[in-house]
């Protein structure tokens, strides 16, 4: 069984996003970039399944400009077997529907039985690509998973999904797409020897033009503005009595 792990390179999640007033885009020039945290969790889960003996190969896929290769190398250094880099040759504004179509092509070509990916990327926060991929392929889908257990015969997987009302447990027939939530596992770090080894692992490059997909944006970003958490004029409180008094005064109690 092959596992495909689509991953994304994003602005480091602990860095504040800033708008470039001229381009009207989020400024990523010289910004610290990292693998999307949810993708790290997806990579870890795929590696655990491979280590349990249930998977034959793990394949990381990323779509973007040349720098995306760095993120794929990180996945290889964590332990993924090989990587597929879809070269967009520029900073195209690709959207989940485009990504879903590209990934569907790759999943079919590789005859992968399982796709493990992040539930969302922390830049655009769409939370869509896994769902779209499942819709395009008509594969079963488990979103927001916090637990994954492959059946002994390898034909299905039991997943726990973190949903608004609690935890839902479902049995997914394979082939399946799962999108991972934060509490699925604790991703490993790449060791120095593995980082060295990753340089010689196979990395295939595919030009985006080789897919027969219309990549014109369906949803265009017109403008962006910063709306970060605004500081408030904090008043210091010393006691419960004072706090309750202030809250009554503000009319919120």
């Amino acid at each position: 069984m092959k596992i495909i792990i689509p991953i994304k390179r994003v602005l480091d999640p602990y860095t504040q996003a800033r708008v470039n007033k001229q381009t009207q885009l989020v400024d990523l020039t010289n910004a610290k970039m990292a693998m999307n945290p949810f993708c790290e969790i997806a990579v870890e889960e795929a590696l655990k399944i491979k280590e349990s003996g249930a998977a034959s190969e793990t394949i990381a896929v990323s779509i973007g400009s040349e720098k995306t290769i760095d993120t794929l190398r990180t996945a290889l250094a964590m332990g993924v077997d090989r990587a597929i880099f879809v070269n967009t040759e520029s900073n195209l504004d690709l959207q989940p529907l485009h990504l879903g179509k590209i990934l569907a092509n790759i999943v079919k070509r590789e005859e992968a039985q399982l796709v493990i990916m992040g539930k969302q990327a922390v830049d655009n926060d769409n939370n869509q690509t896994g769902q779209i991929l499942s819709g395009l392929l008509d594969y079963s889908l488990g979103t927001f998973i916090s637990k994954f257990q492959l059946s002994d015969d390898g034909k299905s997987a039991e997943v726990c999904r973190e949903i608004d009302s609690g935890i839902e447990t479902r049995l997914l027939n394979l082939p399946a797409i799962v999108t991972v939530d934060l509490r699925l596992n604790e991703p490993r770090y790449a060791s120095l020897p593995n980082i060295m080894k990753a340089r010689s692992k196979p990395l295939e490059t595919i030009a985006i033009s080789s897919f027969d997909i219309d990549i014109r944006p369906r949803v265009k970003v017109i403008s962006v503005e910063e709306s970060g958490s605004k500081d408030r004029a904090s008043k210091q409180i010393q006691s419960a009595e004072e706090l309750f008094f202030e809250l009554s005064h503000l009319g919120v109690l």
Binding site: L141, G166, A176, S223
Partner: protein
């Protein structure tokens, strides 16, 4: 330009985020229908009394309560023929189904709309809400989820017609096993006027009970930071933030939460923010209207004992 609202039910009640979706739809269309997938056709009644709905389309089947997203999205896509908009309130329910419908209709959905600028231009958050983007859709059909905190919750002054659809239910590829529901008598997190939220600083599940005690005293919902959920103090559905629930209550009282960007993203629009913490330099404190810099256990004890 007709709109279809995908209604989410909590038991037999219409969820508050579906009510926000109706309000959003009124800004786009004056021909609004509702679609509800349910195991019980009696649930159409609560949907029919919602304001501003012309017709409630109901698909009722005993298998639909925990139906797979694959089946749900196929049914929704079929009903969508002829509609310009499909709108649902942001929740794990709609975030599961809407993008899958997008794949079937070849439409790029728009997540977490906070403002409607025109019939195809919307404002939505990026980067955990630190960036607000104005986006324009060129799709003929528009699929979107809307933030329940950004739109009024539509009321119950309607009397819609009910139309029961009998569509064949396709075979599903994933089967429901169980739902471990959190039971709580407290107000629901996303609609509560007051929230008492606890973080890593509480130290243990036992100590987290102090947060619950204070919430009960203030008739508030309980919230938590990711750290508190990760540490097992409380279950995942109480998490406030970028990947948890987005809230905007009148009062947000944060205890022992330092305030990661991802947490602030989920509560920064609260009307009054109170922080109780022993670290005056924590990002959370800068967001606060009222700060009580103290040992949080002493503070919680005092708050729980002091009469209102």
């Amino acid at each position: 330009m007709s709109a279809l609202i995908l209604i989410e039910l909590n038991g037999s009640e219409v969820s508050s985020n579906s009510r926000a979706a109706i309000t959003a739809a009124t800004q786009l269309s004056d021909a609004i229908d509702a679609l509800v997938l349910t195991d019980d056709s009696a649930n159409a009644a609560s949907v029919a009394s919602l304001s501003n709905i012309n017709t409630v389309k109901i698909i009722a089947d005993s298998n639909l309560e925990h139906i797979s997203v694959g089946v749900a999205s196929k049914l929704v896509a079929e009903v969508m023929a002829g509609y310009k908009y499909l709108i649902s309130g942001s929740s794990t329910y709609s975030k599961n189904i809407l993008p899958t419908v997008g794949a079937l209709l070849d439409v790029q959905p728009i997540s977490d709309v906070c403002e409607i600028k025109s019939n195809n231009t919307f404002v939505r958050p990026l980067y955990a809400g630190n960036i607000m983007a104005t986006v324009e859709s060129s799709d003929d059909t528009i699929l979107m989820t809307v933030r329940a905190t950004a739109f009024e919750h539509s009321g119950d002054e309607g009397s819609a017609a009910i139309e029961e659809l009998s569509l064949p239910i396709p075979e599903q590829k994933s089967n429901f096993i169980s739902l471990q529901e959190s039971q709580s008598e407290r107000p629901e997190l996303t609609t509560a006027d007051r929230i008492v939220s606890g973080g890593r600083g509480l130290g243990s599940k036992e100590n987290f009970a102090l947060i619950e005690q204070l919430a009960d005293k203030l008739d508030a919902a309980v919230g938590a930071s990711r750290a508190a959920v990760d540490a097992g103090f409380i279950s995942n559905d109480y998490q406030v933030g970028q990947t948890g629930k987005v809230v905007a209550p009148k009062l947000y009282l944060a205890v022992g939460i330092s305030g990661a960007i991802q947490h602030l993203a989920g509560m920064k629009d609260s009307q009054v923010i109170v922080v109780i913490n022993n670290d005056p330099d924590a990002p959370m404190a800068r967001m606060a209207d009222l700060v009580w810099e103290t040992d949080l256990f002493g503070a919680l004890q005092e708050l729980n004992e002091h009469s209102l």
